[in-house]
């Protein structure tokens, strides 16, 4: 065995599901993974703020007291909308698909 082979991504053995619909388990799993990544991102912001403060570039209270001006607010609002759009895409797809099928059935 000279080559390094990729370790498996999943453990061997039966994977139990706890809710009647496995989709609910998958959703819980995704939410927990997302929370973990959020914790990582928050830690990175925290590290950044502390480094900037330690180097005297941006004092800590400068971030807490910062208020975006009109242009920045506008840009943020657009980002929120785009983000919500991306996150809620599966729900939108489901609804649109349902609607299309209903229309299709109606035509027939």
């Amino acid at each position: 065995m000279k080559e390094m082979r990729d370790p498996p991504q999943r453990p061997k053995g039966h994977r139990p599901y706890y809710f009647d619909d496995p989709a609910i388990d998958q959703l819980h799993s995704a939410v927990l993974a997302l929370t973990g990544e959020l914790a990582v991102a928050l830690d990175r912001i925290d590290s950044l703020e502390r480094q900037l403060a330690a180097r005297g570039v941006v004092p800590t209270d400068a971030i807490d007291s910062y208020r975006p001006d009109a242009a920045a607010s506008q840009a943020r609002m657009q980002r929120y909308t785009a983000l919500a759009d991306r996150i809620l895409k599966p729900f939108r797809d489901y609804r649109e698909n349902l609607f299309e099928r209903q229309q299709h059935a109606h035509k027939e």
Binding site: P7, P11, K12, P16, D43
Partner: protein
Amino acid sequence: MSSFKRHAMVAATNHDEQARQDFVTAFRGHLSGRVMPGAYCIYQKRVEPAFVKAHARPPADQEEVRQWMTRDPYYQFWSAMQRRSQEILWDAVIDPTERQWASLLARSRKLAGKARGSRKRGSLHIDPQLQVPRYHTAADIHLQPGGYHTDFTADDVAAGVIYDQGINIYMNGALGPENNLTGDTLVAYLREKHPDFKPQRIVDMGCAIGNSTVVWGRAFPKAELHGIDVGAPVLRYAHARAESLGVPIHFSQQDAEHTNFKTGSVDLVVSHIMLHETSKSALVRIMKECHRVLRPGGLMLHLEIPRGRDAIEKFMHNWESYNNNETFARYMTHIDLAAEAIKGGFAADKIRVDEFAPKLDVAQMNYTEHFFWKILAAWR
């Protein structure tokens, strides 16, 4: 955040890798300390009363508790989180290990090389012919991908690197900076019960990464110390780790059911939370093997995890068995360890089963707030 000791064989973490490990540590602490106790609460307030209403009696055993609890949404939520946190735990440890795989391999080779040719150091013997028992190959214990035994490259150590850091996070640091809690517990037991017993030759069965073996080496520095396991990558890691910590141990890849130690050649045989990861038939064979290798007057000590006092506690303890690939553990609930030792050849009046409660934080107890170790002790 973590008190885990950064010895030479630990995979270093970058900023985000450390954040992931810290998150899963904190999240599991939250699950243990804040969410898990709710499972007992809903059992008392909701599940048991519903059962009593339907059957005019409380649940007779853990199986009846299981049938009702697994349908409860709170239990389902906690289980889904507990399971997922275990998967995320391994991911968080595997990432830095894979990133530094080549350098970890190089470090282990260097440490093993230093040991060779030195009488004051330990040794390593790998047996490529060894048949890894089915109770390891059927499912990956604790969900660690590849388990204790899979080599993903020549002279692999990854399983050990991952296991060492992983179990420390698993118990929210309760295992101590060198994952020394189980070894400390058994050494303390021996010192309290038999202060005059000075073993010359010690065998640690199912030693994995040698975390407890190192504790025995420090407690009895003059003894000849052996650590055996069926997993090759954990043993290579154990050897490198012990060398980096300066504790001479002879590690060899052997099955505790049938070892190559001479009959009557060992003073003390120990194991730490190993028995519940074997099988019904293996358990008797391990007892017989302990009996065989021990000299007359020699001692066997096995440390085991609690299995619960009543039906709900038994059910909760067996969460690991059904959901964390500790497949055999559920049968341990009904197994009388003293009776197993008798089957192995030990005399009934030379056997003791004791309970020992370590001081743990509530955030470190995964399935019950009443935690105690079980210790099987038998004289040859």
